[in-house]
C-alpha cells in the first residue's frame, strides 16, 4: 500500500542536525506529520503511545540504541508491524545482517540523498 502523506512518522536520532535533515526531506516529500525522539528508549515510549505508521531510526544512540529499539518494537505485539527504516553510519556488513535479523524494513547508510530516502520509502510502502 502506498504511503499515506498524513501518516505519523517518528524520527529517532540523538543528533539534532540529523533529525532536522530527515524531517526536512520528509516534508519536501509530502510527509508533514513527523515527531522526534532523541534515543531508542524515548522512541519506544512514543511508539507504545500509538498512532505511528513508520519509524526512521539511527543506530548509535545513548540510553537505548536503534537496534535494541528495533528488537523491542518487534517483540511488542501492539507495534511490531510498524516499518522501521535504519539510517546509520554503521556501515559494516555485520551491522546490516544484525539489523536484517532483528527485523529491519530497510537500511540506509549515511551520508545519503533525498532520492535514496524516497526510494526506500517507496519500497517499504509499494
Amino acid at each position: 500500500m502506498p504511503a499515506d502523506p498524513a501518516m505519523k512518522i517518528l524520527v529517532v536520532d540523538d543528533m539534532s542536525t540529523m533529525r532536522r535533515i530527515v524531517k526536512n526531506i520528509l516534508k519536501q516529500l509530502g510527509y508533514a506529520n513527523v515527531e522526534e525522539a532523541e534515543n531508542g528508549q524515548e522512541g519506544l515510549t512514543k511508539l507504545q503511545g500509538g498512532g505511528f505508521g513508520f519509524v526512521i531510526s539511527d543506530w548509535n544512540m545513548p540510553v537505548m540504541t536503534g537496534i535494541d529499539m528495533l528488537r523491542a518494537v518487534r517483540a511488542d505485539e501492539a507495534i511490531k508491524k510498524i516499518p522501521v527504516l535504519m539510517v546509520t553510519a554503521e556501515a559494516q556488513q555485520e551491522n546490516l545482517i544484525e539489523a536484517v535479523k532483528a527485523g529491519v524494513s530497510n537500511y540506509i547508510v549515511k551520508p545519503f540523498t533525498a532520492e535514496t530516502l524516497q526510494e526506500k520509502i517507496n519500497k517499504i510502502f509499494p
Binding site: 551520508p111 519500497k123 509499494p126
Partner: protein, 241 residues
Amino acid sequence: MADTNGHLYAELGDLARYLDTTLRKLDDAGAPLTTMSAQLPQAATHLEGLTKLTEEGTHEVMRLTEELQDSHAIVLGQLRKALMAVDNNENTPCVACLLRESQQLVAQEDKQLIGSRDRLAGTLTKVAETLTKGQTGGCVACTLTQSIHSLSQDDKRLIEIMTALSFQDLVAQRVKKLTTIVHDVERKLLELVVVFGLKHENATPEIKTDATDMLKQLKATNETAMKQNLVDDILGKFGFN
C-alpha cells in the same frame, strides 16, 4: 673470601648506581607525563567544542535553507495560480499582481542564490509588465512554466544542501569516538605518572577498553564501510526488493 666480598660490594655498588640513574630518569620523565596528562582534558574539551561549533553552524545554514524553501513554496503556489489564470484567460491585472508579489519575494531571498534569483526575478518582472499592458497568450504561459521549472530545480538544490549537511552528524560521531580515546589515554597516563612508568608496554597485556573499541571502529569506518549500492545488493540477497 675477601675477593668474593669485594666482588659482591662492587656488584651492589653498580646496582645502586643503576637504580639511582633509573630513578632520576623516571623523575625527568615524570614532569612531561604530568604536563601531558594535564593537557589531555583540554584536548577533549576542544574536541567537544568542535562538535558544538559545527552543530551551531549547521543549524544556521539549515535555518536559512528552510527560509528559502518556505519562500519558494509561496512563490511556486502563486506562479501556479497565475499560470492557471492565464490558461483560463482570467483577469490579467490580477495575474500581474500575483507575479509582482512573487517577484518581490524572490528579490528578498538570500544573496546565496543570487544568479538563479536574478534570472527568475527578471523573468517575473517581464511577465508582469506584459500582463499589465494587456498582452496575454501562450508566450506568457510558457514563461510562467519555465519559471516554475526553474524554481523547482532550485528546490532540488536546496534539498541537496540540507542532505549535504549530514556531514556534521558524521563528524560528531567520529569526534565522540576520539574523545573517548583521549579520556582513556588520559587515565592511563595518570596511572603511569603515579607508578613512574613501571607498567609499560610489554609489562602488561593489552586491556580491552572503550578506547580500544573506538579505535577499532574508527579503523573499520575507514577500511570496511559499505556504500549504499553494496548495502542494497546484500539486502537483495535477503529478499528485500
